[in-house]
């Protein structure tokens, strides 16, 4: 698997994501002004503060040249994972349902949280069993997942709720403790916690985040084989 990690001015976690995904394959940085995706098999939209996020988080990044290519890539079924600010960008771009609102505390919170895998048959969680717990850090000010009630029902019914905060671990006030969702086709996923920061027990608190990246590599491998 060759993964492209987007780099906006103000990205913070793009090098972490690059190094993390290199544990399961090749990876390159994709500059925000370039439309060329360099024949990658998957895209990671990383965390940080794209263009400073002074307007509304992710609101500017969705208009960048590279995102035009990402929209086409996703429409063709390519795997796109948005992490934290990347999740916000994908919601702004209309690739994912819902919106991210400021945490109920209105404060930045950085904490190792426990997640539960709700849907294991996605390209991002296929290496996990349903109900498996993942210990992954989360760190953000604007991570409260929100959608209208009927849409939340539809997301749950459609298997689009991929990850949920375990009981007592949702610090941001997300609707139904939702930590990560995917689109209807399942090839685009976003989550607020940072799997790229949980790929090595020495600096990540756990290596559970690697499960998501391994799932992606497995999916891409299967596609190539097919």
């Amino acid at each position: 698997m060759k993964t492209g990690v987007l780099q906006f001015p103000g990205s913070c976690d793009e090098i972490d994501a690059l190094q993390a995904v290199r544990r399961v394959g090749d990876a390159v940085l994709l500059w925000h002004r370039d439309r060329d995706l360099q024949d990658v098999d998957a895209i990671i939209v990383p965390g940080g503060f794209s263009y400073g996020d002074y307007l509304r988080v992710g609101a500017i990044a969705r208009f960048s040249p590279v995102m035009e290519s990402v929209l086409e890539f996703a429409a063709d079924g390519g795997l796109v994972l948005g992490i934290c600010n990347g999740f916000q960008v994908l919601c702004e771009a209309g690739l994912l349902p819902g919106a991210l609102l400021p945490n109920t505390s209105l404060r930045f919170v950085s904490r190792q949280v426990e997640l539960e895998v709700v849907t294991a048959d996605t390209p991002f969680t296929s290496a996990c069993s349903p109900g498996r717990r993942l210990s992954i850090p989360a760190k953000h000010t604007t991570g409260r997942f929100w959608a209208p009630e009927e849409q939340l029902d539809a997301l749950e019914a459609g298997g689009q709720v991929v990850l949920r905060y375990a009981e007592g671990h949702c610090f941001n006030g997300s609707a139904r403790n939702i930590a990560g969702v995917c689109n209807e086709s399942g090839n685009v996923m976003g989550l607020m916690p940072h799997p790229e920061h949980a790929v090595d027990g020495l600096v990540g608190g756990s290596a559970d985040g690697l499960k998501l990246l391994e799932s992606m590599a497995r999916t891409v491998g299967a596609r190539v084989a097919a």
Binding site: P9, G10, S11, C12, D13, I15, D16, Q19, A20, G48, F49, Y51, G52, D53, Y54, R107, F108, V109, S110, R111, P137, K139, H194, E196, H197, D200, L202, V203, G204, G205
Partner: protein, 733 residues
Amino acid sequence: MSPPETAAAPGVDEAVALGLTRAEYALVCEKLGRAPNQVELAMFSLLWSEHCAYKHSRKLLRTLPTQGPAVLLGPGENAGAVDVGGRLACVFKVESHNHPSAVEPFQGAATGVGGILRDIFAVGARPVAVLDSLRFGEPSSARSRYLLDHAVTGISHYGNSVGVPTVGGEVYFEGPYETNCLVNVMALGLARKDRLIRSAAVGAGNMVVLFGASTGRDGIGGASVLASAELGAGDQDKRPTVQVGDPFAESKLLECSLELLERGLLVALQDLGAAGLTSSASEMAAKGGVGIDLDVARVPLREADMEPFEIMVSESQERMLCVCEPARLAAVLAVCEKWEVHGSAIGAVTGSGRMRVLRDGELVGDVPVAALVDDCPLYDLEPERPAVPPYPAPAGVLDARAPLHDTLLALLASPNLASRRPLFEQYDAIVGSRTVRRPEQADAAVLLLEDGAALAVSIDGNGRKVAADPYSGAVLAALECASNLACVGAEPLGTTNNLNFGNPEKPHIAWQLTAAVRGLGDACRALGAPIVGGNVSLYNEGAAGPIYPTPVVGMVGRLPDARAAAGAGFARDGDAWGLAGWNRMPSTAASELAKLRGEPVPDGLPAVDLAHCTAVLAAIRAAVRAGDLRSCHDVAEGGFLVALAEACLFGGRGARREAGAGGTAVPSDEILFGEDACGFIVSGERAALERLGERIPVDVFGTVGGAVLDLGAERWTLAELRAAHGALGALFP
């Protein structure tokens, strides 16, 4: 050279209003051979301020140890640097932003982070960690809570957004900081040793390029009017002297600077900090022994009608100044364009030795560089020990007859000892994927290096101890850092410091400063931790008097294997635990217990046994590196029992004292709550602790496990300890 036209030359009264003394103004006139015009006076008033010229501290600072085998860059550069092995250097420095934070805490603290980060990447290093050292009045005061909340949010906003982890720090709450809070920020960066760049401008004809944010009217006179004077009534009016930070601009500036250096396009690089262009350009010129011509008309402005003097002294944030060869100018500007930062060639290096300011080619200021940078008069301090420490006794909140059970809980819940989790959870501690030990996991922050070794870093400084005894207090601050490093198995490489004191023109402040610098120097010599950079912040006084004298010490060390770093919390049920290091009865003088009981700051502390401490540190370090200690936690404020309770809380495990261990007498306050340097709560295999006991004093007291801290005569559940320790949560609803 004829003096530039001066429409309305300012006089001595204007000079005094800008912070110069009458004698200093006369000296400026003598150096110029005429009266300075407005531009020149503005430049002198800033560069000759205490903040820029260190005129009351420079002679003292010369006594500090600055040499050592690991030192690559010492004081004088934007930041110091030490060799961390392999091809890497660690660049680090601490700086204060006290008065801006006292006037406008959010922006004051945020720009404190921004300023120190620029010092790091100005040397060519990528910033990899931030630590902060904060002092506020008691949280019972609404003003203190406001300053705390906004300063923490400011650090969080800036540090998190710029993508540098905040990995550690400390905060104390004491009455003397009520109106004059302290915000000191330390940053570390990593660079290849062969890529460190200096700030000396060289090569007549080379271009001087300003890049980064545009220049506005924020921060005019910040270094002189705000930073080099006592706080007092009307400080709200000084808000325009506080700068406004933009972490997004900083992030782009950082990447732009590092790419310029990576591509070898620069001759010299310097950040713009206090006194803006004036300071940066003249210091670059002074270090290179050259002159610089600047045309203020080429400086990108936020407001079109700025006067030349305003452009020269503006402290607008997120700007850098570099020197490049003319042939590389186009490439430099292209990198600026890539990162969407303004880049503008605003002048040139000359052989004149003069700092010349032009506006559209017209000369508006012309002074010798040496006069600006080197000729500021240095003052001798007139130290005099006061008859009694000049600080009021703290309000007592704990009865001296309170039962032991309640005393421990009161200490754990006290603002200086309660868990810092509500603060550090507002900081991103992990971006960069180097953070091996997060806050409360170990006594020092531990950062992974590319070869599997690690850096350890700690920042400390207990002002109350320095108020009681400036010499010993400063020694204790350095030892506390070194103890924290020892807990993770790290050996000191170098030190940075921020001397936060009151008005040095007052004899008792001069005495504090003199004695503290002597203590700091002696301790750093004994520890082999030379001082490679730092900062001095004087005039920290408010209406109620001076702050506690607060030398803040930041120390960087190295451990050969990141995986060997011991945690602070008890790690395994069944391990033996004990106290290592102490060879005498600790004292409760100036301790947390004494403070809670409302005892006045004493006059003097017991002398510190530096030779014993360095031996203990070496033994602890060796034991941690050998894997003999499963946990190691330094006994600091609150003494033995507080450190023991913390080791339980951090590890989520109780501890039991075996019957008769440590004797059968009822332990005294001194034993339980006394504070002395270089004591450690350790745990591990009993045989390992006994082995350590062959080198240094070790008392094995019992075993780890369960959910109770049980001393036999007294017991606490982890739940009640945790509830007390969580007291600061109420400050951040």
